[in-house]
Amino acid sequence: MALKTEEMVLNMGPQHPSTHGVLRLELQLDGEIIKDVVPHIGYLHRCFEKHCEAMTYPQVIPYTDRMDYLASMYNEFGYAVAMERLLKIEVPERVEYIRVIMGELQRIASHLVAIGTYGADIGAFTPFLFCFRDRERILHLFEITCGARLLYNYIWIGGLSHDLHPDFIRLTKEFIKDFRPNVIELNELLSYNRIFIERTANVGVLPLETAINYGVSGPNLRASGMKWDLRKDDPYSVYHKFDYDIPVGKGDKGKVGDCWDRYYVRVLEMEESLKIIEQAIEQIPEGDIASAIPKRIKPPEGQIYTRVENPRGELGYFIISDGSLNPARVKVRAPSFVTMQVFPELCKGFMVADVVAILGSVDIVLGEIDR
């Protein structure tokens, strides 16, 4: 007589310590093995797109910060690039360089959060605090320049709100000098730790075809073995002036595209961003940062879709203007929204403890999913 085991439905979230925000995962469990995952989102929906239709173009920037609150500098960067292409404004060289430096610093800060919380999800609590200690120095750099630590409203359409702080360059050099040994130390503590590898290798494997079909982008796509980075494949700003390479998942601890690859691609990417910042600091030209900011922004009727390489993936802005002061429609293609779509695909057949590991490795932010 076959033993009748009925499936147990386990609700993870929305108040769960490891769901990186307000997300409810409905797990159909057969014992410990996961049959299916149904994500429920919308708890953090603040109708960003409805707000934009009531704001003038410059007033939208504080709203873009609040979407992906861990990488708000890059959200503004994406919006500014989209608007400048729509208005066909030429931005002075110095502004482009400062934006690249700020963008790459924000990428390191966002990756530090991703790596830190991933360690904490797997159970190692110390790397979490090391990552946040280093991130604190980046936030201090942002604070002395534009006054805010998390939501900056710093990159405007056509320029910047403040120029660099006098000792910004010195402090950034110090940060880079101190940060490199910390990354090596973090690797010793977490990346090569046998238990960490045991928990993450061959878990949540994302094959390349499904990744492309779902439109996954950013570190998650690169971990699956595809060399696709918008800074090189769909260039914007002055990224073409620097030489840096794109780390790709090689599957040296397990299959290509497993959790360990997604984690390790982010660690390598931090090193690449450091290289970009160093070169940008050397070549930064002088110049005025607010010369190209138009007094009143009234773009011609039309629509544009631009995308930038946000730390979490491809952040796309689709802006439709009807010739008035307010945008007719601003649609944001959020990378975490697309990654969350592929998440059930990754979890099938793994255990409850792995759901936490996979969720940590895809590094989603709920502000961006729910907008």
């Binding site: 007033q59 939208v60 504080p62 604070e143 939501l151 409203n153 730790n193 046998r194």
Partner: protein, 201 residues
């Protein structure tokens, strides 16, 4: 068999390496500060609470228009010609009484968009960040320097002025109408010359 031993050895080795790292951190001084006794040092471009220097404010409503969350509420009253409202720090003559200037800090998102358009730079951000309250209403700051009675008084003066102007206008209109009527009455007597003079007056 070979990778069995390798796994065991690699596990042991990486655990010892990890422990070496944490042990070294025991002797590295802590980076945290004890907040209430040691206050963090704020950079000078810090963006926390707004402050409005009222005697420079000319009531131009630029900041209220720039604010994305509409948390600044301004009402102004025109001054009576005789009154002297003083001049702003950079010498501009003030013409409006600002009777209400509220900023609702519960709604403010500290984005600093209001600071840039202000012509007299009277609104700027200070580095005060400890201003939490128990009720949400008490976060509604009123910056006007006039006493409540003075505000009502200013409004009343302005209404009286309006009323007076109204009265004069009506009187003038009535007077003009009477003259015209009078002009018509004696027009049939001498048609041409009078009209021109009247028009001139």
């Amino acid at each position: 068999m070979r990778d069995y031993i390798y796994n065991f050895w690699q596990g042991l080795y990486t655990i010892l390496v990890g422990m070496k790292v944490t042990l070294r951190h025991v002797f590295i001084p802590a980076v945290t500060i004890q907040y209430p006794s040691v206050k963090p040092q704020m950079p000078e471009r810090e963006r926390n609470r707004l402050y409005v220097n009222m005697d420079d404010c000319i009531g131009c409503d630029q900041c209220a228009r720039a604010c994305p969350v509409n948390c600044i509420e301004i009402e102004t009253v025109k001054s009576i010609p005789g009154e002297d409202l003083g001049t702003t720090s950079n010498g501009k003559k003030k013409a409006l009484w600002v009777t209400t200037f509220n900023i609702d800090f519960a709604k403010c998102c500290y984005c600093q968009l209001c600071v840039f358009p202000c012509p007299t730079e009277c609104i700027y951000m200070t580095d005060v960040y400890e201003f939490s309250e128990f009720q949400r209403e008490s976060l509604l700051y009123d910056f006007v320097t006039l006493l409540p009675e003075e505000r009502i008084q200013k409004k009343k003066n302005y209404e009286e002025l309006q009323a007076k102007k109204e009265a004069e206008k009506i009187a003038a209109a009535k007077k003009a109408a009477e003259e015209k009527a009078a002009a018509q009455a004696n027009k049939p007597a001498e048609p041409k010359p009078d009209n021109k003079e009247e028009n001139k007056q």
